[in-house]
Amino acid sequence: MNRSAGFPMKSRITSRAIAAALIFFAGYAALFIAPDEATMHQIQRIFYFHLGCWMAMFTALSIALVANISWLVTRKPKWDWLGVSAVEVGVVSCTAGLATGVLWGKPAWGIWWTWDARLTTAFILWLLYISYLLLRGLIEEPQRRATLSAVFGIFAFLDAPLVYASNRLWRTQHPAPVIFGGPDAGLNPTMGKVLVICIAAMLFVAILALVDRYRLERLRHEFDELRVAADARDSGSPSALIASSAKDSI
């Protein structure tokens, strides 16, 4: 059996080279090509990555939802691996989005943080998916872990629009949608192009991380299976008994 099937070494190197080039070009475009913003000037350039982080998070968490539902329906282990990988990538993107938002908020609004609808939603989502990862760590049995965390993942996803709606009703400070926000809204064409490049770069990196994480999860699963098989084969032979009793005494 080919252990690295589906993702050979050569394409892994190529994909990393593409990711590095994309991120480098996106950074260059955001810092030097994009025009100066009228009110916030240089500070606004963080926006290209800030939005990229959120796009990556939404993509990853949507993939996680699909994986959670698919696991419950099909019970194929690959959906469980995809689910946990997507949530991890989503949590990392969310952390990066929150960090860039805080960095941007201080110079733009004069405060690091405010309990606005979108900020609060992002923060609660972050907490919920951290809980998802904690939950997985605390259930031993693989089948049960997959099923129960899938149920929790679906509940967490359902909560996101409710958190947003409740905070929207309550109070909000984050700017109204600029890009798709009605007749007066709009983006300078160059800014739009830079934004597309940055989002593409962040998404590419997120997908790459997801694929890698998925491979790791699959290898772990295969390792566990091999270990169980080896234990079963060795049990009964004197050397295995000595080895297992030595392991017990540690």
Binding site: L72, T120, I124, L127, L128, S131, L134, L135, L138, I139, E140, E141, R144, T147, L148, A150, V151, F152, I154, F155, A156, L158, D159, L162, V163, A165, S166, N167, L169, W170
Partner: protein, 224 residues
């Protein structure tokens, strides 16, 4: 046997179990009372301030109490593997879940009926003329709490550190419920009490979303 009938039998079983000792109910009430009392030491609120912060304090106390008292709902079944026996019974998994949800709803509502008047005395909030509307808000808010809480109790029952895990799973998901319940209660505690229909509708929406989700997912939740 219909789901409703099975759920009613299971509800009776939960109530019988609890009212033999009343330990869960007593502990919940005392715990929530302690939170209410400690709050007054921590913030020393004036009459106006307690009208403003009171609803938040009450709901935080009930959320914390709920996140602790809901754990035994399924955790208690672990000791003698009685959940396996329940699953073997010819009833739908949703009936098991529903029976436990109704029992938990009843326990928390009893705790609230005792604690809200105590709170009103301690914080000088008048309940005259708002009791009916207050009950509506508390029933809808508590229903959302026990629906998610009972489901997560079933999840946490299979994990290590389950007593600590349940609040971790439950409290963030209840953030929108907390906002809606606190705002709805605050509009009733105001100088001119009024029922905030938008928040009430939001609470009902929260209940419906998660009740539907637990109905759809209960097979997976309770499978062996």
């Amino acid at each position: 046997m219909t789901t409703a009938r099975a759920a009613a039998i299971l509800l009776a079983k939960e109530l019988r179990l609890e009212f033999r000792t009343r330990e869960l109910l007593n502990a919940t009430i005392v715990f929530a009372l302690i939170v209410v009392v400690l709050f007054s030491f921590a913030f020393d609120p004036t009459a106006g301030e307690s009208r403003r912060y009171g609803p938040g304090l009450l709901w935080i106390a009930f959320l914390f109490a709920g996140s602790l008292m809901l754990h035994p709902s399924f955790g208690r079944e672990q000791a003698n593997q009685t959940l396996d026996a329940l699953r073997m019974a010819p009833v739908s998994p949703f009936a098991i879940l529903l029976g436990k949800m109704l029992a938990n709803l009843l326990f928390l509502l009893v705790a609230e009926v005792i604690l809200v008047p105590v709170f009103a005395v301690l914080y000088n909030v008048s309940l005259a003329g708002i009791v009916g509307r207050l009950i509506l808000v508390f029933v809808l808010g508590t229903l959302g709490l026990v629906v998610t809480g009972t489901v997560f109790s079933a999840i946490a029952a299979h994990a290590r550190m389950r007593e600590l895990l349940l609040p971790l799973l439950l409290l963030p998901i209840l953030a929108p419920l907390l906002i809606a319940a606190v705002e709805a209660t605050a509009s009733l505690f105001a100088e001119q009490p009024a029922l905030d229909r938008a928040w009430l509708a939001f609470l009902a929406g929260f209940d419906i979303v998660f009740l539907t989700a637990s109905w759809l997912l209960c097979d997976f939740l309770l499978e062996e």
